[in-house]
Each structure stands twice: as structure tokens, then as C-alpha cells.
């Protein structure tokens, strides 16, 4: 018997063969006839006036086809980069989105800002020529720290944003929250830094611009997570041209984690320059450029407080956050520390009153935008560090305090005090499963065994929640989004029964070619090897919104189901005609159309063939077997679960060993457990990276990026990470047809809080991420000193 291939089976990935044999097609693998190469001269200063740019020597450098500055783009009326989500502040005014030119005009505001574009016959010639461009800078004072940038006297980045303030925003019921705090038996306070991260997808960004004179069409090959959104932004806002004259192709993309959602300067510049030089223009980022120009993540400074009654019941939570936006507002940057953050501050708990205020600020650093989890890891980090600290201060078991405050399973749908209504969840179920897997009862003995070796052992929990499956268009529209967040699918049966599925989602590691094929195979009764998934090309795929916010299956998969349902409805009419029965009497099950109560049936292949060879066909029915589905969700989905980390700390060296990792997640229905587990592994690894190793650091005086290479920015390697124990509980999503919730971000949301709770449990001292050996060693010494004093 063949291995199962339907929904729920761990089908081996259809896309793997090309990747394990070196036959993937990543953007840098594409070379167009006559292609020239782009190189960007970038600012060496964090903040400076450009007094003049002298390109005369560079122009005559060998192989140069063109050298362009901001003035050239301005002369062609090329628009600047935009932010597609407007956040309205406390005072009712929209956020400040200062101009973000594709190439700097008169001022550079971060190291790496584009100053000039050189196009030459080869990459090396372009680079050689760039070295001959003479830019006269007048250096200005720079500020990189999010708290420092708000102080009076701080260097000012934009005339449009006085005080470097992008917005001062709040959410929740301030009066109710303050009232709850005033009568609370206990208050727990914590200052937290959520460290700035560099996404570091292994594939650097690449862009190729190509103009076809015959059809007057531009093509942009790009490492994008959402080619249609990129096309929309470029056509509607930057070039002012119709979308049918622009094709965006995002072929195999080597990881994104959010960083490839955005519309960046380089792809715009290549698309513009191709007409200037009359040749295809290709740019390939090197890793140093990636550190300088790929949007960063996180970078919050937060003060948070939790109010509790005498029994440990949560009464209210409040927090005040400064969020670093960097030098300019990136594509969706404004939404991340506001709506994607504060709306998740209820966590898994019944906390009745919540109030958050967020100041988003500009600094002379790389723009910050969505990175795996985007706002939700920051929220979980605040809530779960507070809850753990509360347990310690009230001398309660960290499990008991959480269970006491969990939203009970019979309370769903559950309206939180921060706008979102959770659709479903069984939080204690996931936690109990995790406790079993980690052997919580055995922890005391394991801690004693570690102490006998001179090590400190700690255990930490994160009972996280996220809102994903982004998102109901009406909701995000009311919150300031400039786009709708539905998804599309088109399913085309070919005459002999194979199927081409065109999805607006984009796969860059998630395995859509397998998971989506499982869904279609299951619904339509077609063998999985007869189903192809097509994505990543605006010319082939219907308008779609792309992949981010763990939305592909919950929203894109639901659109596929919509299209399947339409095909089945049409198939019933064809079958009724073939079987000479009434449509109402046709029953459908996994590829077979049957007359109810009889053994008369036709299969999907016969129905499909009939639709294309309609010799015997209903007179009032269109031929053909192809349908579109569009799906706009009615709510977010709310995956949740418990992650437990157990660490062993060497107080002599400050080294942290992750001894155990248990993740029990509730993603609703799971289509491919193997792929879901892989997503959890990867998410946890990025969360562990944030908690232990990773931090983007700028020099506070000069604004220079000190972590601009993989030798300076510490990405987790195999030896830094444990093996994970991963399990799921299943509480189906009640409002989408697959019952799925999304799994891509959960690990990165849960892991930092779980790991820091474990480390601080071991140390008995609160510290910030990343828990580097130096920081941990110092904290361990504090503990030793304190114990000696006691």
C-alpha cells in the first residue's frame, strides 16, 4: 500500500529533489542576456550632509555604463519608498513618515544609505568605479539608542518628525488599569530590552530589472516573499505606471523571516536603471550589505508592570515601550510595535485591564520592520517574564500561577481587553502535555545533580499566544493598513486530470508545494503527484498578498479550499448530466461523484474530461474546469502553547547549555506534521539565538555598525542548539475551512521568554538578552556575593 498523502500525513517534500541536487532556481542563479551589474555606493557615515558628489573620474572607469545619484531619480519623478500602514497617535494625528528616497538626495541618515548607483559590464568593474566617486560629506552628530533619541538636544533626523518621534500611541483602558493597580495586593515591575536582531536569511537579497521594448514591459526578478505587493508598491507609488506593464518574479527564495516582505531601494533602482542603460541590471547583495540594509527586527526598551491580588490572580498589566524604527519608516514598520504588539498583551490569561503606550522613534540606524513573529515575540516576552517574576516574588509555582490565570476552555470565543477576540484554545492541555514531556516532577532531582557538579540548573516557561493568519481586511483596514489581507487561489484542471494550482502565497522554505498539494489531493481525489503548485510570478498567479504572519495555510489554504468547493459544485452538475440524475442527488466524496443510494458514479477524471470535451454536457453550463477562490478571514487565528526550557549554567564561565527543550503547540488541524515540526525547530532556533547569542550593536558615538558580518554577529550554529522535543495538541480553528491556525512564528515567539526564564531561574538574578557568557558570569558572581552576604 502506498504511504498516505492526504491531510494529516507527513508527506516527504515534493520540492526537495531540486534543492538536494543543486537544481533550485534562486534569483542569483538567473542571468539575463546582455545583463549588466549594479553596485551601490553607500554612506560611510551614520548621519551627514552630502555637499557634493563628483562622478567624473568614475565615469571613465573601465566597463562603466552609467552612474546615477538621487538627483537622477528625482529628475525622472521616481517616488520614494513608502510605509503601507498608518498608525494614528494619542493626539489623533497620523504617524510621521518622512521622505525615504531610493537614493539619498542631500542627507544620509544611516551607515549604508544609498548614495550612488554604478552600473557596469561586470560586478568588479562597478565596484572599482564606485571607489572613484568622490563624495564630499559634512558629518553630523548621530544617535542610535531609542531612549537617547527622544532626549532634548539629540541630533534630529527629519524636519518632518520633530524630536525624532514617529508616533506616540497608546492602546487599552488606562483608567481601568490604573484603578486596578491602585488596589492591587502585589505589583511586579520589570525593565526589559528586546535586543535588535538581523534576520540573516541564508540567501542574500538579489534584484534584476529588465525592460522589454517589444512589449513595453518591465520585469523585476526579486527575492520577495510577496511579489504582487512589491509590484503594487512599485507601480502605484514609486513609478506611477499600470501593473500590467510590470512583472515581478520571485522564484526559489532562500528564507525570508520577514526581511523579504518589504519594498527595498535596490530593486526599485535596478528596475529604473534597466531603461537608462538599455540592458538588464542585476544586483546581488553581499552579506555585509545585508547586515546594513535588510530591515532589522525588535529593538524595544520597555518598562512593564503586573498587578495581582493576594492569591496571584492577575488584575492588570501596563507597559511603556520605546520602539526603534531606524532611520526611515520601512514598508510595514509602524504596525509592528503597535497593533501586532499591544493586542497580544493579554497572553493566555484573563487579565481584565491592560494599557500599553508606545513611542516609535527615529535613529541613525538601519530601518526596523517585521522579523519572524513581529511584535508578538515582544508581547510574549513582556507578559511571560512578568508572570515568571510574579511567581518568584509571590513564591508560587510558575505552573500554578499560570493555570490560575488561564482563560478556561469554556470561555471561548473570548473577548480580551485589547480588542482581539480569541476564537478557541485549550491552554492547560498544552501545558500539561509539556510538563509530562519535560518531566517536571523530576526537575528538583536534576537541579540537585547539576549543583553537585558545581552547575546551576534552571527551568523556564513560556505560555505564548499569537494572532496570525493575517488578517481580516476590515479589521486591519480600521487599524490603518493600506492593503487588504485576503488571499487568492486558482485551480486549473488539465483535460486529462492533472491539476495546476496557482496561489498568491509564496513559499521560501515553508513547503507549500507539498502542503498545498496535500490539501488539493485530499479534497479533489487526485493523486498528489498529479498536483503542481505554482507561485511567485505575477504573470502566472492571480493577485495575491504573499507570505508573512503565518498566514499561508490559514488564508491561502482556505482560498484553495474555496476554489476546490466551486469545482466540486460544478462537477456535481456535470456528473448529474452524465448519470442522468438530479444535481441534488449527487453525493461527492474524495474524487467520486455518486447518485445517492445507488452504485452509479463517475470520477473526477471523467468529470474533468467531460468539461473540456463537452460532447454530452448540460446546455446551461460553461465548459472548462477551472475556478478562482478568494478568501478573507473573519478573524485572526490564535495558535498557542507552552514551551519549557531547561538550562545548565556554568557559574565559572557563564556558559549556558540548553539541556532540554519541550514545545507543545496548538496549531489547530495539522496538514503535514513533519513540516510543522520543522517550522517549530527553526522558530525555536531563532528564539534561542535572540536569547543567547544575537544582537545588532552600533557604536553609540559614531553610529557605525559593529556587528556587520557573520564574524561579529553571532548566529546559532549546530553546537549551540539542543535537540527539541516537539508535540502538538489540536483545537481546530472554528472559522476557516481547514481548521488550521499557522505555525511559522510560534517558536520564535515562545523561545526567548522560555529561555530567559530558565536562565534567570538558574541565576536568581534578572538579566537582559542576549545572555552572553560575560553577562551570565557577572550575574552568577552577583549571586555568589549575595549568598555570601546572607
Amino acid at each position: 500500500m502506498n504511504a498516505p498523502t492526504g491531510i494529516g500525513a507527513s508527506v516527504r517534500r515534493k520540492e526537495d529533489y531540486r534543492f538536494i541536487t543543486g537544481q533550485g532556481t534562486y534569483t542569483d542563479d538567473i542571468n539575463r542576456p546582455g545583463q549588466a551589474y549594479a553596485y551601490f555606493l553607500r554612506s560611510p557615515h551614520a548621519h551627514a550632509k552630502i555637499k557634493s558628489i563628483d562622478i567624473s573620474a568614475a565615469k571613465s572607469s573601465p566597463g562603466v555604463l552609467g552612474i546615477f545619484t538621487g538627483a537622477d531619480l528625482a529628475a525622472d519623478k521616481v517616488g520614494g519608498l513608502i510605509c503601507g500602514w498608518t498608525v494614528t497617535g494619542k493626539d489623533g494625528t497620523p504617524h510621521k513618515a518622512p521622505p525615504h528616497p531610493v537614493i539619498a538626495l542631500d542627507t544620509v541618515r544611516c551607515v549604508g544609505d544609498q548614495v550612488a548607483l554604478v552600473v557596469a559590464e561586470t560586478r568588479e568593474q562597478a565596484r572599482d568605479a564606485a571607489e572613484k566617486i568622490n563624495v564630499d560629506y559634512q558629518a553630523l552628530p548621530a544617535v542610535v539608542d531609542p531612549a537617547a533619541t527622544l532626549k532634548s538636544g539629540a541630533p534630529q533626523l527629519h524636519a518632518e518628525a520633530p524630536g525624532n518621534l514617529c508616533y506616540d500611541w497608546d492602546f487599552g483602558d488606562k483608567a481601568a488599569t490604573e484603578a486596578a493597580f491602585s488596589k492591587a495586593a502585589h505589583t511586579v515591575k520589570l525593565d526589559l530590552v528586546n535586543n535588535r536582531l538581523s534576520p540573516n536569511a541564508m540567501e542574500p537579497r538579489v534584484a534584476i530589472g529588465e525592460y522589454d521594448r517589444a512589449t513595453d514591459t518591465l520585469t523585476c526578478y526579486s527575492t520577495s516573499q510577496n511579489p504582487h505587493v512589491l509590484r503594487l508598491i512599485m507601480c502605484a507609488f514609486i513609478f506611477g505606471m499600470p501593473e500590467h506593464k510590470m512583472r515581478v518574479v520571485a522564484p526559489d527564495v532562500g528564507g525570508g523571516f520577514g526581511s523579504k516582505i518589504f519594498c527595498y531601494a535596490e530593486e526599485v533602482a535596478c528596475v529604473w536603471a534597466t531603461r537608462k542603460v538599455g540592458r538588464p541590471v542585476k544586483w546581488t547583495s553581499d552579506r555585509t550589505e545585508a547586515f546594513l540594509t535588510d530591515a532589522h527586527g525588535r529593538d524595544h526598551v520597555t518598562h512593564a508592570e503586573l498587578a495581582l491580588d493576594k492569591d496571584g490572580k492577575f488584575l492588570a498589566l501596563k507597559c511603556s515601550t520605546i520602539a526603534n524604527m531606524g532611520a526611515y519608516l520601512s514598508t510595514f514598520a509602524s504596525s509592528v510595535p503597535s497593533y501586532l504588539y499591544a493586542l497580544l498583551l493579554a497572553g493566555q490569561y484573563t487579565t481584565p485591564a491592560i494599557y500599553a503606550e508606545v513611542k516609535a522613534v527615529f535613529t541613525n540606524t538601519t530601518p526596523v520592520d517585521a522579523y519572524r513573529g513581529a511584535g508578538r515575540p515582544e508581547a510574549t516576552y513582556v507578559v511571560e517574564r512578568l508572570v515568571e517574576l510574579a511567581a518568584r516574588q509571590l513564591k508560587m509555582d510558575p505552573v500554578e500561577i499560570r493555570k490560575k490565570n488561564f482563560i478556561p476552555p469554556n470561555a471561548f470565543p473570548y473577548q480580551t481587553p485589547v480588542a482581539v477576540a480569541y476564537d478557541s484554545g485549550q491552554y492547560a492541555l498544552s501545558m500539561d502535555e509539556a510538563l509530562k514531556l519535560v518531566d517536571y516532577k523530576g526537575f528538583a532531582a536534576r537541579r540537585a545533580a547539576s549543583e553537585a557538579k558545581g552547575k546551576l540548573r534552571g527551568i523556564g516557561f513560556a505560555a505564548y499566544i499569537e494572532a496570525c493568519g493575517i488578517a481580516p481586511s476590515s479589521v486591519v483596514g480600521s487599524l490603518g493598513a493600506g492593503v487588504g489581507l485576503w488571499e487568492s487561489a486558482s485551480i486549473r484542471f488539465n483535460p486529462t486530470g492533472s491539476v495546476s494550482v496557482f496561489t498568491g502565497s509564496h513559499s521560501h522554505g515553508q513547503g507549500h508545494e507539498t502542503t498545498f498539494a496535500q490539501v488539493v489531493s485530499d479534497k479533489m481525489g487526485v493523486p498528489i503527484d498529479q498536483v503542481e503548485i505554482v507561485h511567485g510570478d505575477t504573470q502566472r498567479v492571480p493577485m495575491g498578498m504573499g507570505t508573512y504572519g503565518s498566514r499561508s495555510l490559514a488564508v491561502g489554504g482556505s482560498a484553495i479550499v474555496r476554489a476546490c468547493d466551486k469545482l466540486i459544485a460544478k462537477g456535481k452538475k456535470i456528473a448529474a448530466h452524465l448519470l442522468e440524475a438530479a444535481v441534488e442527488d449527487i453525493e461527492y466524496d474524495k474524487g467520486t461523484f455518486k447518485v445517492a443510494g445507488t452504485d452509479k458514479s463517475v470520477n473526477m477524471q471523467q468529470v474533468c474530461f467531460t468539461a473540456y470535451v463537452p460532447h454530452k454536457y448540460p446546455a446551461d453550463l460553461e465548459p472548462g474546469f477551472e475556478e478562482n477562490g478568494f478568501y478573507d478571514p473573519s478573524n485572526f487565528t490564535y495558535p498557542a502553547g507552552t514551551h519549557i526550557a531547561e538550562v545548565e549554567v556554568d557559574p565559572g564561565t557563564g556558559h549556558v547549555t540548553v539541556a532540554k527543550w519541550v514545545a507543545v503547540d496548538d496549531f489547530g488541524k495539522v496538514v503535514n506534521p513533519m513540516i510543522v515540526e520543522g517550522q517549530v525547530h527553526g522558530g525555536v532556533a531563532q528564539g534561542v539565538g535572540q536569547a543567547l547569542l544575537e544582537q545588532v550593536i552600533y557604536d553609540k558615538q559614531s553610529g557605525q555598525l559593529l556587528t556587520g558580518s557573520m564574524m561579529d554577529y553571532c548566529l546559532p550554529r549546530a553546537e549551540d542548539l539542543p535537540s527539541y522535543t516537539v508535540a502538538t495538541t489540536e483545537t481546530p480553528c472554528p472559522h476557516n475551512p481547514l481548521g488550521v491556525k499557522g505555525c511559522g512564528e510560534a517558536g520564535a515567539i515562545a523561545a526567548p521568554a522560555a529561555l530567559m526564564n530558565a536562565i534567570t531561574d538558574a541565576l536568581g538574578v534578572e538579566i537582559d538578552m542576549p545572555a552572553t557568557p560575560e553577562k551570565v558570569w557577572r550575574a552568577a558572581q552577583t549571586r555568589v556575593t549575595r549568598q555570601a552576604a546572607e
Binding site: I20, Y26, V253, D286
Partner: protein, 155 residues
């Protein structure tokens, strides 16, 4: 320009290249073998690992001219007669890849690691992967795949 002759995946090839040409550029740009990837510029990520005379080497830090007369195997040359190498099979079976970008270098490193070190433990494998970065998988399934392949390779 300099003429560089190398045996690549069993085929003798010769190209005139600038002396500063790196082996990875020679493979990708001059031979069109784009399976070997470039993920960094500091010899850290290992996406570019190939075998030179049987040893795993980062092709982003090797000049093509250094390989004159050598035998180079890339990811495209690992499967023989349409049959996947056991390491490739193991990566697919254990879901050891997601975006696939690090995968060619990871597989080439893993093959060399296993061939030179029989009886690898999990710790050995994790340590042996210090020259290769993956941002998608958290390494869990890569370690599993290499452990599995270490049992089937050479059989």
C-alpha cells in the same frame, strides 16, 4: 586573463578567467553550476562548500587558479547515474532542509564529515557542522539526517 583547467564532476573543463576569480565564481558564472551558493563574504556560512580532491573546501575563499589540475565535486556531481547519494536521500527523508539555500554546502560538508569520521555521535556531528550555517531548520533534522546517512553510506 589566466587559463584555468579543472576536472569538475568528472568533466575536464578549461576557462580563461581574471586571476582574482574565486572558485565559486568559476563554478557559478563560468560553468553555470549554480548549485553552489554564496551566503556570506567572510567564509562563515558554508553554503559554498565543494570537494577539492575529496576534501570539503569553501569555494568562496579559494581562487580558481589554486585549483588548476585538481578534481572538484559540486552538489551537481554527487548523485551518480541518476541515483541520489545516501546523504541526499537522508536529507529528504528527514526533512533536513527548508529553503534549500544552505543545503548544497551542508550536504557536501556532511559527506566529508561522515567519510572521514566513522561512528559519529550527535555531539560529533554538531561540532563537525561548525563551518555551516542554516537559518531555517534549527539543525535538529540536519543532525538526524547525517546520523542516518552515516549508517547507510559506504554500504
Amino acid at each position: 586573463m589566466a587559463t584555468v583547467s579543472i576536472t569538475v564532476n568528472g568533466n575536464k573543463v578549461s576557462r580563461d578567467v581574471e586571476p582574482r576569480t574565486l572558485l565559486v565564481q568559476y563554478l557559478r558564472e563560468h560553468l553555470g553550476l549554480t548549485g553552489t551558493h554564496v551566503g556570506c563574504d567572510t567564509s562563515q556560512c558554508g553554503a559554498c562548500v565543494v570537494h577539492i580532491d575529496g576534501a570539503s573546501v569553501k569555494s568562496c575563499t579559494t581562487l580558481a587558479m589554486q585549483c588548476e589540475g585538481a578534481s572538484v565535486t559540486t552538489i551537481e556531481g554527487l548523485a551518480k547515474d541518476g541515483k541520489l547519494h545516501p546523504m541526499q536521500e537522508a536529507f529528504r527523508e528527514h526533512h533536513a532542509l527548508q529553503c534549500g539555500f544552505c543545503t548544497p554546502g551542508m550536504i557536501m560538508s556532511a559527506v566529508d564529515l561522515v567519510e572521514k569520521n566513522p561512528g559519529l555521535t550527535e555531539d560529533d556531528i554538531r561540532h563537525g557542522l561548525e563551518g555551516n550555517l542554516c537559518r531555517c531548520t534549527g539543525y535538529h533534522n540536519i543532525v538526524k539526517a547525517i546520523a542516518a546517512a552515516s549508517k547507510t553510506m559506504g554500504r
